[in-house]
Symmetry: D2
Subunit: 342 residues, 4 copies
Amino acid sequence: MRVGLLTGGGDCPGLNAVIRAVVVTGVRRYGHQHVGLLGGWRGLLERRSRPLTPRDTAGILARGGTILGSSRTNPFKDGGGARAAESAAAMGLDAIVAIGGEDTLGAARRLHDEFDLPVVGVPKTIDNDLAATDYTFGFWTAVQIASDAIDRLKTTAESHDRAIVVEVMGRHAGWIALTAGLAGGADAILIPEVPTSLERVGAFIEERRLRGRHFSLIVASEGVQLEGDEVDDAERDDFGHVSLADIAVGERLSAGLRARLDVDVRAVVLGHVQRGGTPVAFDRVLATRCGVRAAELVAEGGFGRMAALRGDAVVDVPLTEAVAELKVVPPELYQQAAVFFG
Amino acid sequence: MRVGLLTGGGDCPGLNAVIRAVVVTGVRRYGHQHVGLLGGWRGLLERRSRPLTPRDTAGILARGGTILGSSRTNPFKDGGGARAAESAAAMGLDAIVAIGGEDTLGAARRLHDEFDLPVVGVPKTIDNDLAATDYTFGFWTAVQIASDAIDRLKTTAESHDRAIVVEVMGRHAGWIALTAGLAGGADAILIPEVPTSLERVGAFIEERRLRGRHFSLIVASEGVQLEGDEVDDAERDDFGHVSLADIAVGERLSAGLRARLDVDVRAVVLGHVQRGGTPVAFDRVLATRCGVRAAELVAEGGFGRMAALRGDAVVDVPLTEAVAELKVVPPELYQQAAVFFG
Amino acid sequence: MRVGLLTGGGDCPGLNAVIRAVVVTGVRRYGHQHVGLLGGWRGLLERRSRPLTPRDTAGILARGGTILGSSRTNPFKDGGGARAAESAAAMGLDAIVAIGGEDTLGAARRLHDEFDLPVVGVPKTIDNDLAATDYTFGFWTAVQIASDAIDRLKTTAESHDRAIVVEVMGRHAGWIALTAGLAGGADAILIPEVPTSLERVGAFIEERRLRGRHFSLIVASEGVQLEGDEVDDAERDDFGHVSLADIAVGERLSAGLRARLDVDVRAVVLGHVQRGGTPVAFDRVLATRCGVRAAELVAEGGFGRMAALRGDAVVDVPLTEAVAELKVVPPELYQQAAVFFG
Amino acid sequence: MRVGLLTGGGDCPGLNAVIRAVVVTGVRRYGHQHVGLLGGWRGLLERRSRPLTPRDTAGILARGGTILGSSRTNPFKDGGGARAAESAAAMGLDAIVAIGGEDTLGAARRLHDEFDLPVVGVPKTIDNDLAATDYTFGFWTAVQIASDAIDRLKTTAESHDRAIVVEVMGRHAGWIALTAGLAGGADAILIPEVPTSLERVGAFIEERRLRGRHFSLIVASEGVQLEGDEVDDAERDDFGHVSLADIAVGERLSAGLRARLDVDVRAVVLGHVQRGGTPVAFDRVLATRCGVRAAELVAEGGFGRMAALRGDAVVDVPLTEAVAELKVVPPELYQQAAVFFG
C-alpha cells in the first residue's frame, strides 16, 4: 500500500512524532510505503511530495514543527474535492493520513464521504476543543509553557505590587487558560465561556488590595469577551499599520485596568511560543500512539475514521465526530477552579 | 467538620498540591477545619499535628515533597487499628484524608472497614500501577524527567559509539520505562512484565552494530528481571558496606554487557531525581482535582472511597479498588512500542 | 554591627540569593545583625523594616523576586538625602547594603559621598549595561529564557514559512538581544546600537526568500530605533486606552512588515517573563558571590564601593564606576555576530 | 585555505556550536574550505573525513554531541606524529582546528611544535580545570543540570528526613561540585581538593540532626578522596562482573554512612546526563565565540594557539598554557562557600 501523509493548519508540538509513528509502524508491521504531501492539502492538489522512509523520520520525534510543512489550503475552497481525488489517483495513493484540526479533518471527512477517498485522520489542536477525544497532542505542551511563564511572573507580581495579565491561546474555548491557570495558581482566570467586563476585573483587583494583596496574576484566553470591548478594524496608522483590532486582548485589558486603577498593571502575551518547539513527554507519547493507530486503521481499511484518546486507551472514532461539536469548559469545572481564585 | 490530612509512603510530585486543594476547597466551599497529621499514619498514632488553613497552603502548589512529612508507618503493624481510631477520636477528627500508595490506602481501607473511621483516599504512586485510576499524579513528572535525561544521553551515545543503559523507577510495573522510552525514542525498553536476559540484550546491541548503528540507548525498569541475575545479599565489603544486592540493575546490566561485548557501555541510574521537585503541569492539575474531589467526598460523607481519574473526569471509586490489583503493562501495548525498537 | 539591606528598581532573578548571602556571611563570619528595609529606599525613608536572620533566608536562594519588596523611590527626589541619613541613624544602622541598578546605586553613591552614609552596593540589571562589571546577575537568566523561546519559535517559523519578530528586553543596550540571538541562531538581530529601518528589515526578509528561505527569525531589543518610526503619545482610544506609544516595537515592526511584504509575519514580545522566576545556576552563584563580597566590604569598612565580576573573580570597585558609563555592544562584537545572519 | 576540524575526548555540550562557528566564519569572512575529520585524531590518521559547508552545520548549534564523532585516539600513542603530519599533507590541509581537552590539545601542541603542523586549538572540558581560560564551554551546562537535580532532591530529602549524596563529575577538580552545590544550596560539598573521611561526613550529619535538621543534601565530586576508602580492583563477581572499583564514590559513601548512622541515606550518581544534550545559552555563546576566534586564528596564521575566555572577551593564548597546569578550586573560595554549609 502506498500511503500519503499531510499536516494541515497551525503549528502544534507532536506533528513530527505522528509522522514518524505512521511511517515506522506502517513499514515494519504492514510493509506500507509512504510519501509526504508538502504543505497540507496544497501538496495533494499540486502533487508536491517527498518520499518518507523510517530513516527519513529518524531524530524527528522530539522536534517541533512539521517536516512536511503546512498550509491553510482547503481543497473545497481551493480547487474542489474532485481535483484532490484526481491527484490521489494520479499519485497512486491507496490511503491518506491527514493530521490536522477542524478544518483539515472536515475536508478529510468530505473527501471520504463525497469522493470516496481512503482517508484516515489524526486530530490536532493545542486548544483541546475537540469533543471526540479526551486530549489532543500539543495541548499539554502549551499548558506547560504557559504554566512555566506563570511561575516566573508570580514572583515579579508579588515583589513589585503589580497586577499582571497573562494572555494565553484559546480562541473559542478556555482550556489552556483554565488548565495553566490552575497549574500556576492564578488569582483569576478569564475564559471565553464565562463573560466578564473590565469593571468586574478591576473590582476584583481592588478587592484583593483591600485584603492586603497588592499583587494579582490573571490568566486570560485570547478569546475572552469583555463587555464593551468591541474592537473594529479601525483606520490604520500610517507607520505602524497597527489598528486596535491587531492588539491582543491582554494588552487592551491591561491598558484599560491601568487607566481605571491606581495599580501597576502589565500584560504578557505568550503567543506563538505556546505552539512551537519540542513536545512534553505526554504529547510525544500521545502523538506516537495516535500515529500507530492511524497506521493500523490504514491496514485495517478503517477509512473515514480517526484516532482518539479515551482514558488511557487510544481508540478510533468516525471523522464526523471530530467536527461535530466544540468541546468547551463546562460550568462545573470552572466553578471548581474558581474556588481557588481571590 | 474537622478534617485530618496525612501523606504516607515515598515522595511524589503533587502531594502539596493535593493538600492545598483539600484545604482551600474544604474551607471555602464547606467551612471545614483542617489539621495536618505529621509523618503519615505515625502522626495519627502519636497525635502529632499542625493546623492547616488556606494561608498555610499559599505557595505550596508548585513545591515538591510534602509539608506534612511522610513515613512508612502502618497502623496495623505499628500499634494496631484500635489505637488509630482512639487517636482520631481524641483529636476530634470527623474525617481523615489519606494521601498515599497501596500501603497507605490499604491501611485506610481497613481503618474504614474494620474500625469505622471516616476515611477518604487520594491515590499516589509515581509508578502508575494502580488499576483504579487512569493516571496517578507524579507519574508524568517522573516520565518527563526520565525523557529529558534520555534526550541528553542520546547525543552522547551517538557521538561516542556507546551503549547507554538508563535505569528508571518501576519495581513491579514498567510504566515509567515504557512511557519515557517511547517519549525519548529509546532503542530498546526492558520492563518487569517482559523477561529478558543479558544474552538477548547483548545480541540486540551486536545486531545493531552490524547494521551500522554503533550506539544504543536502552531504558530499563529498576524491576526488570534478567535470567541468571540472581543477586544474594552476599558478604559485605568492610569499607563500603556495599553488597551486590545494593547495586542497581542498570549497573549490573551495564557491567555484564561490558564484559561480554567489545562496546563501551555506560549505566545511568536516575534514581530519586524522578520523585522530587516541582510537578509538571499535568500533575499539578491532576493533584489539585483529586484534592477537590476528596474535599467533596468528605462533605458528602463518601467515606471508604477515593478520587480517581477516568478519561478527563475525576470521579470516585471504593478504596478496595485501589489495592485490588496491580496495573501492569499489557502485552499489546509493549508490542506496539517494540515496533520502534532496533 | 547592624546592617540594613534594600533592593531597588525592577525585578531581577538573583535578588534573594544576594540577600541570603549577605545575611549568612555577615552573621556567621562577622557576627553582624541585619534588618531588611522594605520597598527599596522608601523603606529607609519611612523606616519600615523587618528582621533578617539566616533562618529567614532559608529556601530563598532559588526563588525569584525579592522578599524585601522594591520600589523606584529615589531619596534625592522623594525627601532628600538628609532625611535618609536621619532615618539610618534613627534605625541604628551601621551599614547599608543597597542592591539595585543605576538609579539605586546612584543614590547610594550620593548618600555615601554627600551624607557620609556607610553604603555598600551590589549592581543589578538584567540588561548587563554596567561598565564596572563583566556580567550582572539576572542577565544570563533573561538570555536563557529568550533563547529557549527562540528555540521554540524556530520550528514554527520554518514549518509555516513565516517571519517571526521576537522582542526582548534592552532599552539602551542590545546585550540580551545579541546574546540570546547568538544562542538561538537568529537570522537577524536588531539592537539599539545599530540603527536600521523597516525598509532594510523588509529587504532582508525578501532577499532570504529569493534564496529559498521562506522563514526568518528576527530578534529585536525593545530599544531598537527604526527610522521613521517616531511614536507620539497620540490621542487615546476610549475603551482600551491604548495608544501607539503603548505598543511594543516588536508589534509595530511586525505590523509594518506585514503591510509591506507578502509574508506571514508574527510578533512575540517576551516581556516580563524575562525578569521573574528562579535564576539559572550562573546567576545564583554570581549573586551569592556578590553578596559574600558585600558582607566582606561591610566588615572591612569598604564603604562607597560595590561588588563586581572580573573574569572568574568577584572584586570590588568604587560606586562611581557603576554609574559612570553605559556599557553598550561594541561594533566589532556585533560584526562578528552578523556573520551568522542571513 | 583548506581547514580540517576534529573533536576529541569525552562529550561536552557546545562541540557542534564550535564546529558551526568555525565553518560559517571561515567561509563567509575568509573563503576557507572545510573538512571534518571523523572520530578525533583517528580521522586524521586514517584519513577519514566528510566535507563541511555552512549548510552542513545548519541546525546543529543547539544539538548535543558532535557531528564529527570523537575518540580517545592520541597520535603520539597510536601511530606517531609523523604519520599525522603525512596525513595532513596527503589530505591537503592548510590548517587543523582541534577541539578537545588536555589530551587532544597536548597532541595538538606537539604536532605543532615538533612536526610544524598548522594547528589551532579550542579548549573543551566540562570540568573547567584548564588554567588558561576563565570558563570552558560545557561547564555551565553541567552545573545547570546538577543544580536542577539538587533542586529536585532537596524537597525529597526534607520531606523524608533523609540524607542524600549527589555525585557529580570532576575527577581532579571540584568545580562542578562547588558551583552546583552553591547554586543548589547544598548542606555540604566534598571536592578532591579538600580531603575528608567517612567519619567526618557522618559526624556532620549527626550534628545537623541534633540541631533539628533531619535531612542533609551533600554534593560530592566523583574524584573526592575519603580516608580509608582505598578501592582495589578486587576479584570480580561472576554474573555482574562488578567490582568495588566500578562502584561510584557516591554509592560507597552512601553505603558507608548507612551502615554507620541511623539515618536513611541515598545516593544519586548523575553521571553522563551532565555531559550530553543541548547546551545552556552561556555555553552556546561561549562555544560560538571560541569557534569565531579559531577561524580568525587560522586566517591570521596564529598556529600553536588556542581560544580562551578572559572576562567577557574571547582572546587567544599559546597551546602550551592549556596543558601547563590544572586549575583547582582555591582554598579561599572553598572557605567562602563553606560558610553556607551546615
